[in-house]
Symmetry: C2
Subunit: 309 residues, 2 copies
């Protein structure tokens, strides 16, 4: 991979598509993934290894992993809810596996039907499986601490619990933990406090990424706070697709296009070409007409005289 | 006025409405201003003293100033393009007068048909008029350095020129300067650098406010950078109304509703009640159906368990 200051991990094909009612055809997904990679995106979460009955939108994940692996320099990430999903991800050849560990146990039970203790067992089993792979094909294994900034079911979550679960997940054998603002509740002060606490407990190299939602429009402000602390991986979604069905008009992840402008304008290299990124947006829009796309920079264009790459 | 950490100056009735094709009836504007004040907004820019032939949307500004003055604790601000506008503003009883001084001379010539030198003469004449008022009714006089972060006509603007114009405007007799990202080009690094430079030249008490546009979705990230440096007044527009006719879908000012959530979540008091603010949004929406309203927090609601005021 090309050296960048901030790695933007594009999660639109997973986190975005799973929230949409329509199913994007596999051929169109491949075209989109290809266009994203051509724009300079270095990591794409292409899907989830969940039963097709649960998320028919992502039923072609294994095929997309195989396709993505043919694109030079592209890191292929997938989400898995459990050991079985991890088995599928490893069989398909994913470079990176993420599993959500909800800090809100209410959310964990709703999302993956497991308590914290059960999820930690699952994480240990996946870690064992990952470690058993030959080093050349061993995937990177991350635990995403979801609802780390609050939960729409239980409300605030104890910060100490975030730290404890980060420690427990790493002890169970994952490579890294991430902090996820699943419900778009985070604010910059809280984000800094929580990152500091987790770093203090597990070390800075064990928490490098954040997954922020733009549910209340705070996404880029939170991203700014995180990257200025030293976070180096930020998840984002093309056009901010995704979002919460319970909050109409509330977008999903932070918008990749606007995040790229933010970072590049600040002098932080993302390796991404803005015009090519807009071309990838057009590929998505053509394949999924009627999907509401967020993001202002694609509409306004870059400022006059501004250059990226 | 109630003591707040950050003063949100609501510019929707001026900067928002001037960009809309439709004209909001005066009675509805009064209802909206009243609802905004009831929500805890302490400063509202109610209009501009420009000829009705230029901006028919704002032809009732004098009446709105008079109305706004009847609301206890509310600071009534207006924009003026020249001395004649300032005369109208003072006659109407505005508490605060702002005049734009475009750092981009190309923009200045397009916007107010005057060079920098001509604008500085105008500012000196207004300052003289302001100083001649009895102290009890003397308005506060601010110069807004527009296009301070870049211009859609000329591209980048020299930072030294921003500093020089800030000094010149203060020398010409205004009370304070503000920095305006008229075209939504700013980024947090540039914003901090420019604020530091202007403060260094004119003193921190002579630059307290920023006017940020969300044209490229960077508004709240820039607001975060500004307030954490010590900027204490932030302009915002309800529903982000306004925007640039040349960039469809690119919103105008930063969204008041999302800004309030950002600040209050960070523990900074704005004095604004969020539910009442949403009620003011409804007043606007009822009066101006079909106007695209931005902002995510009103749709998502506050996070579960989150309290403002």
């Amino acid at each position: 991979m090309k050296k960048v200051d901030i790695l933007i991990s594009e999660v639109g094909p997973r986190d975005g598509l799973q929230s949409l009612a329509g199913i994007m055809p596999t051929a169109a997904k491949k075209q989109w993934i290809n266009a994203l990679a051509a724009a300079g995106i270095q990591e794409i979460e292409v899907g989830s290894f969940v039963p097709a009955s649960v998320l028919p939108q992502l039923a072609d994940t294994a095929e997309l992993v195989a396709y993505g692996r043919t694109i030079a320099g592209l890191q292929i990430a997938v989400l898995v809810p459990n050991l079985r999903g991890a088995q599928g991800a490893i069989a398909a050849g994913a470079h990176k596996i993420s599993i959500p560990l909800s800090v809100s146990e209410a959310h964990s039970l709703r999302n993956v039907k497991r308590t914290h203790a059960q999820m930690l067992d699952e994480i240990a089993a996946i870690a064992e499986l990952v470690q058993a792979q030959p080093s050349a094909t061993r995937p990177y294994f991350e635990v995403g601490l979801s609802t780390a900034f609050g939960c729409s079911l239980q409300g605030p979550v104890p910060e100490l619990l975030v730290v404890q679960l980060a420690e427990a997940a790493l002890k169970a054998g994952c490579d890294e933990v991430g902090l996820s603002d699943t419900t778009g509740s985070a604010n910059p002060v809280q984000l800094r406090r929580l990152i500091t606490q987790v770093w203090s407990a597990v070390g800075k190299d064990k928490l490098c990424g954040v997954h922020l939602h733009n549910t209340r429009g705070q996404g880029l402000a939170n991203a700014l706070a995180a990257i200025e602390m030293g976070i180096t991986t930020v998840d984002a979604s093309m056009g901010g697709i995704g979002g919460c069905p319970a909050a109409p008009g509330a977008s999903g992840n932070i918008v990749t296009e606007d995040l790229v402008f933010l970072l590049e304008a600040m002098g932080l290299e993302t390796g991404i070409n803005f015009e090519a990124l807009c071309a990838a947006r057009a590929v998505f829009a053509d394949a999924m007409p009627g999907t509401e796309l967020y993001g202002f920079t694609p509409l306004a264009g870059l400022p006059k005289g501004f250059e990226i790459n």
